[in-house]
Amino acid sequence: MVQHKINPKVVALLSVIPGFGQLYNRRFLKGISFFIIFIAFITFFYQFLNIGYWGLFTLGEIPKLDDSRVLLAQGIISLIITSIAVTFYILNLRDAHKDAVKIQKGIMPKSFRENFNDGWDKGFPYMLVGPGLFILIFVVVFPLLFMVFLAFTDYNLFNSPPKYLLNWVGFENFISLVAVPIWRSTFVSVFSWTIIWTLVATTLQIALALILAIFVHDSRIKFKKLIRTLLILPWAVPAFVTILIFAALFNNDFGAINNDILIPFFGEAIPWMTDPFWAKVAIIGIQIWVGFPFVFVIFTGILQSISKDMYEAADIDGATSWQKFRKITFPHVMFATAPILIMQYAGNFNNFNIIYLFNQGGPAVRGENAGGTDILISWVYNLTFEAQNYNMAAAISIIIGLVIAAFAFFQFRRTSSYKEEM
């Protein structure tokens, strides 16, 4: 066979139209199939992408006929399709170039059949990941993107498609969050309560878990297994059931906590549901009840894995139990469980269930459009489903996302020390 001269650069240039580079490499079947896929992609998606990008920029031009939401969705899907296509396009360029370099070096390119086997081996992991990734993109990533775009539109109850068109408004929603008095005061109080709630509830729940884990681990305590099972119970009962039960127990008028405990013993009832302060106290208490068993279980596992030698050595040196706790137990447990604890904080930051099920974020607060116990995520819920203030809800969701990203950053730093294992 006559070796024809091949210049990798020419090949790469030819591959600007997928398949041509491969044809020049004399890889006819591959070249033709690449070309056919390319043409099929263009004919199939051209119209869709065209409308998609037009929609993404204009959000529609004729009210009642163009539905801005559909156009926005199509625009985002177009973005996703484009990025997938670009990935394949780059792979095509690389493939042609690589083959050309090989031919130039005198290595015979493999036959189609060999290539097919090769491709099966190399392509197998993509086949495995593909279907799940597809669902993930459309169910998780796509809605997140849609939400991000919504935050820059004026989609609310008074301006909703298909009757009206949406418009891009830039950062207006974020600006009104800090500039319009009612939004600002609500945002400030909800945001600060969210932070306090996250820190206080999670820290207390971790502290209780740690105390209990250490107590139950103590060699002088008997019936360990029974005690542990009882302590895990709150984790085993579905949280929504527990929270609703507590909502009844804390009820101002007929709740058992007021009627059976506070009034008989202290002669006074506490307005758990109607006073913001007491409602917050109750919610934190309930979260500790619901949340400590998970951490307790993890701590117990870690405590059992600390070797006894360290404690024996400490005993010989005459260490007190407090010193042993501070120098051995505490650092050990905290180091081993840091990622789980970070997840606990992140989870409580978005703990919608407890806030909503206890009393729908209430009680109402004068001069604000969120309830006294609303955290950011439950506020978003109210804005979406009660006020239909989609644009503001999306803007606040983005702020939630930024805070979560901070949590993720800490998690990353933890994980990067295990990079080799990934």
Binding site: D121, L128, F146, R220, L244, N350, I404, E421
Partner: protein, 280 residues
């Protein structure tokens, strides 16, 4: 004070503390069970230890024509079974690829999963609501199932991948030498060895629809499509005190089986969680 006395005091203190916590745990649970056995429906007239026990509410849930409880149970089971099976399939395939193969985007993919598992699906509820409405999946179980599956992928892939990593690579390399293909290795070597973690993933995803309230409340609108959690919430949401004993009976019927399964499998759950999580 002698050393021994001090130790005794410490032990008493610890027992007292643990006892107080256990009391605080059991009180609301027993209260609910007691309440569900009251004959009346009003919370006001009911007590933790009823004068005359009665199973009237349980009977009502199952046999009264006005009760949708069995329908909700059926809906929840449908969602749970489909979600659980599909999640296991998708998750194991992805986890297998991440554990055993090298491919473009592997590392970034893992990082993306790590971040995505911190973003609850709930965060994009505005978008989910609008999008499902647009494609006509609002108020359908299909929409709910799709979102459960998608949301389950990132976190569970981590769990399963961690477990796959503990299975020695020599096993599948030996099989490859013997001429086993990709699928054969996957089905005859990896899957049987990974049964415990697959059971955990299946169980988690089976239980989610029983325990989750928020997603159904966003997606499902008509009472005949409710899942248990949503249906029970609406029981008491309308007039809080008036249906509470009925709610209590319904809640007991969900909580008891779930708690039983949970306590029964706790050892597997815990070892699966801690081994995956503490490694990072």
């Amino acid at each position: 004070m002698s050393r021994k006395n001090k130790s005794v005091l410490q032990v008493i203190g610890m027992y007292a503390f643990i006892g107080a916590i256990i009391l605080a745990i059991l009180y609301p649970l027993l209260w609910t069970i007691g309440l569900s056995l009251n004959p009346g429906t009003s919370l006001y007239a009911s007590s933790m230890i009823p004068d005359n026990f009665s199973f009237v509410h349980y009977k009502w849930l199952f046999f009264d024509p006005a009760s949708d409880y069995l329908l909700w149970y059926k809906n929840t089971l449908i969602v749970a079974v489909i979600t659980s099976i599909s999640a296991v399939v998708f998750v194991t395939l992805i986890a297998y690829a991440f554990s055993r193969y090298h491919f473009i985007g592997k590392k970034n993919g893992l990082y993306t999963f790590l971040i995505l598992q911190m973003f609850p699906v709930l965060m994009s509820m505005v978008a989910l609501y609008i999008l499902l409405n647009m494609v006509g999946l609002l108020d359908t179980l299909t929409g709910l199932i799709l979102i459960y599956i998608g949301g389950a992928i990132p976190m569970n892939v981590f769990l399963v991948k961690g477990y796959f990593d503990t299975i020695p690579k020599e096993l599948d390399e030996a099989a490859k030498m013997d001429g086993a293909g990709h699928f054969r290795i996957f089905f005859t070597i990896m899957l049987p060895l990974a049964k415990p973690i697959l059971a955990v993933v299946a169980l988690f995803n089976f239980m989610t629809p029983f325990m989750d309230f928020i997603l159904p409340s966003i997606i499902l609108r008509s009472p005949e499509k409710f899942t248990l959690a949503l249906g029970l919430f609406n029981f008491i949401n309308e007039q809080f005190g008036n249906n509470f004993t009925r709610f209590a009976a319904g809640a007991v019927l969900i909580a008891v089986p779930i708690a039983a399964v949970f306590l029964f499998l706790q050892r597997y759950l815990i070892s699966g969680l801690t081994s995956g999580a503490t490694k990072g």
